[in-house]
């Protein structure tokens, strides 16, 4: 607040006053509408004897969930079941985001390749996958898994990995002290690698001697990991998948439902991200590339050091949209039986009859996830924006 506020003019002639009145009116109207709808729903539900409320969240769910990151027992409460569904959604969304970014960037950059075949393939990819509805793609991948692959009784054996209608089964290391030390080692190494990287940048700016900013930190992290593993007694025991009577048992497993959702969403969204990346790169003035060439940078270096960092500013906001789309599209997973939060809510609706409440929870989950994603991306956007000095 400033010390001498501007004089207020309470008359229709004042634009500020009129603006204020309109705004208050708009807010009142919105609140009225929402209040009316909520009240009407409640009255009608009460009149028809439909029980409502969120108390059901504390009662036992009574149903099992096919796959989850954390153990779930049917005796646990509904809110716990929702939490499992939410982690399943996040599991697909987060892996999907990472893979989409990698694939989308590769395809987008590939459209500038000098190799006509690479360029053509990238164009085909984009045009094919962004023009087929994502639900169809999910169903297609799921059909590929369940119809084309062999039965789990006679899986495709690719070394230690089994591929069948039951999904992808692979060996996982048995958790032991060695892995624990390796994890600690890698955690420490991250700090060391970060410090090294900062030193390398400073030293480059001071002396002009370029140092590896990627391989050396990677080496540090891996080296520490191996060291920790050796100190922990170098355990090499694996939980191997093995052929059971009807299905493959033991080992780690990715279900066809998870794989189909992940593949479908990644491949679909990557087509859009590729276009965004292409647009971003094209927005960087040609003079920049020419200047880089004049300085003697190679094509790869130009892309990595000159073009992409500048393109990033244009790329981030639309890519955020694609991230949000991917997260929201993951709700289509219910069509192919992946137990995401929508699937859990569907079951809950039917067991309890609390349709309004369950739908409200789904909306809340997607709303908060999306808002959080945009918040993070906006922060990153501000960080990578041009710093005006």
């Amino acid at each position: 607040m400033s010390n001498n506020p501007p004089k207020k003019n309470w008359s229709w002639r004042s634009q500020a006053f009129r603006g204020l009145v309109y705004q208050v009116l708009a807010v009142v109207l919105i609140v009225l509408c929402v209040g009316y709808l909520a009240h009407n729903t409640q009255t009608n539900m009460r009149e028809r004897g439909i029980q409502s409320g969120f108390d059901f969240l504390n009662s036992p769910a009574g149903f099992d969930i096919g796959e989850s990151l954390f153990a779930f027992d049917s005796g646990e409460n509904y809110w716990h079941a929702y939490l499992i569904g939410f982690t399943n959604t996040l599991r697909v969304a987060i892996t999907g985001l990472i893979l989409t970014t990698l694939l989308g960037t590769l395809i987008g950059v590939g459209r500038f390749s000098r190799n006509a075949l690479v360029r053509g393939l990238c164009v085909c990819y984009v045009e094919l996958f962004r023009n087929i509805p994502v639900l169809l793609q999910l169903l297609m991948w799921y059909l590929m898994f369940t119809e084309v692959l062999p039965e789990s009784a006679s899986p495709l054996v690719l070394g230690p990995v089994y591929l069948s209608k039951g999904g992808l089964n692979f060996p996982i290391p048995v958790w032991a002290t060695g892995q624990f030390f390796a994890a600690i080692g890698m955690g420490l190494a991250l700090v060391v690698a970060f410090l090294y990287r900062r030193w390398a940048i400073l030293s480059f700016e001071r002396t002009g001697v370029p140092r590896s900013l990627f391989w050396a930190p990677l080496g540090i992290v891996l080296g520490f990991g191996v060291l920790g593993w050796l100190i922990g007694g170098a355990p090499s025991e694996f939980n191997m998948p093995k052929q059971g009577e009807f299905a493959i048992e033991n080992g780690g497993a990715l279900t066809p439902e998870f794989l189909s959702v992940l593949l479908g969403l990644t491949i679909y969204t990557a087509a859009f991200v590729a276009e965004v990346v292409r647009g971003g790169i094209q927005s960087v003035a040609l003079g920049q590339t020419e200047a880089a060439a004049a300085l003697g940078l190679g094509r790869g270096q130009t892309m990595r050091l000159v073009t992409l960092p500048q393109a990033l500013r244009v790329i981030i906001p639309p890519v955020t949209n694609q991230y949000l789309n991917l997260t929201k599209n993951s709700s289509l997973a219910v069509a192919i039986g992946y137990p995401d939060v929508v699937s859990i809510a569907n079951t809950a609706i039917n067991q309890t009859g609390r349709a309004v409440e369950c739908i409200a929870i789904i909306m809340l989950v997607y709303l908060s996830t999306s808002l959080l994603t945009s918040l993070l991306m906006n922060w990153y956007n501000t960080r990578s924006a041009i710093k005006e000095r």
Partner: protein, 342 residues
């Protein structure tokens, strides 16, 4: 802040005035003025409710709708069928989109007590079973330990499966789909070792969707009680009574040997007072329900008695080949026992 609170309070007060109940008036009156019974049915479950290529609906659940329409409107064809998914069914009935929900729905305490719905009468006593491919050589459900089982969401089935798995320490992994077609697709493609739903549903699916029905075995053990029947909205007891007594009437008709073929003859020639009451020749039972005296005669004429409905749609001679079993009349070894019409 204070002003905001006032605004909210004012808005809430206004809302109270503006809110009006959207539902009033008797269902029967609405149906009569509309000239149609709107009936919520399954999207396609052979033997229960399925539309053929010309759009004609058949099945046990459909016949209930037809009988109700014949009793109330005098014409079994005056039914509008609304195919509903397992999830949409209760909401559709609650919101008044359908007059009666005849969609192989299990009666349970939760549904009766908390959904604002009334359960009428059981038209099919069912139980949940498992279907497995014959080649897997599974002979009983306990052999499914640690295996995947395909199941449709929004059913009592999901919970029964969990209970069964837990009680027997089987650690069964459910793969849950929203649509019946998706569950069938996943099971027949070999994604799941087994498919679970009501035994009648399994027979229907095996018959309709399996390449060779003989390749699939329905395990003999049933893991739950599934009394299936139509539901109506709560709050209109007269309408609930009409649906309930139409079903009782169909059962009584079988008990007293009234069939679609002999109903006209019996109306004139019967000397049995019980038959006279059912057909409205001696006593006007329909009047008490708000209908005319020929209500049951028309219903039986349109669909046949309960036994005929069963035989035609799901019985041993139909495509589904389900045994009469529990659904036989009480005096023939089953548990179908209708209160008397008098």
């Amino acid at each position: 802040m204070k002003s905001l609170k006032t605004v909210v309070a004012a808005v809430l007060a206004l809302g109270t005035l503006a809110a009006s109940p959207a539902f009033a008036g008797k269902t029967l009156d609405t149906i009569k003025s509309r000239g149609q019974v709107i009936c919520g049915v399954h999207t396609g479950l052979a033997g229960f409710s399925a539309a053929d290529s010309s759009g004609k609906w058949t099945g046990i659940d459909v016949d209930v709708c037809r009988a109700v329409a014949a009793a109330t409107l005098g014409d079994a064809e005056k039914v509008k069928y609304v195919p509903l998914s397992a999830q949409a069914r209760f909401t559709a009935l609650q919101s008044g989109e359908v007059d009666v929900l005849s969609r192989n729905t299990t009666f349970t305490l939760t549904r009766d007590a908390s959904l604002g719905l009334s359960q009428t009468a059981v038209i099919y006593y069912d139980g949940q079973g498992f279907m497995v491919p014959v080649k897997n050589k599974i002979k009983n459900a306990k052999q499914l330990k640690g295996q995947t089982v395909c199941v449709q969401s929004g059913t009592t089935t999901e919970k029964n499966l969990t209970d069964f798995s837990k009680a027997n320490g089987l650690n069964i992994k459910p793969v849950v789909f929203e649509k019946l077609e998706a569950v069938e697709g996943a099971y027949f493609s070999g994604r799941c070792v087994s498919y679970t739903t009501d035994a009648s549903g399994l027979a229907s699916v095996r018959n309709k969707s399996a390449k060779n029905p003989a390749d699939h075995l329905i395990l003999p053990e049933l893991i739950s009680k599934e009394p299936l029947g139509p539901l109506v909205r709560r709050g209109d007891d007269e309408w609930a009574a009409i649906v309930k007594w139409t079903i009782f009437g169909l059962l009584e008709a079988e008990e007293y040997g009234i069939t679609a073929a002999n109903v006209d003859d019996l109306k004139v020639n019967t000397k049995d007072p019980a038959i006279g009451r059912i057909l409205g020749t001696t006593e006007d039972t329909g009047k008490l329900l708000g209908l005319d005296k020929e209500w049951m005669a028309r219903a039986v004429k349109a669909t046949g008695n309960y036994g005929e409905i069963f035989e035609r749609n799901v019985g041993p001679k139909s495509a589904l080949q389900l045994p009469r079993g529990l659904n036989n009349l009480w005096n023939k070894g089953g548990i179908q026992y209708a209160p008397p019409i008098r």
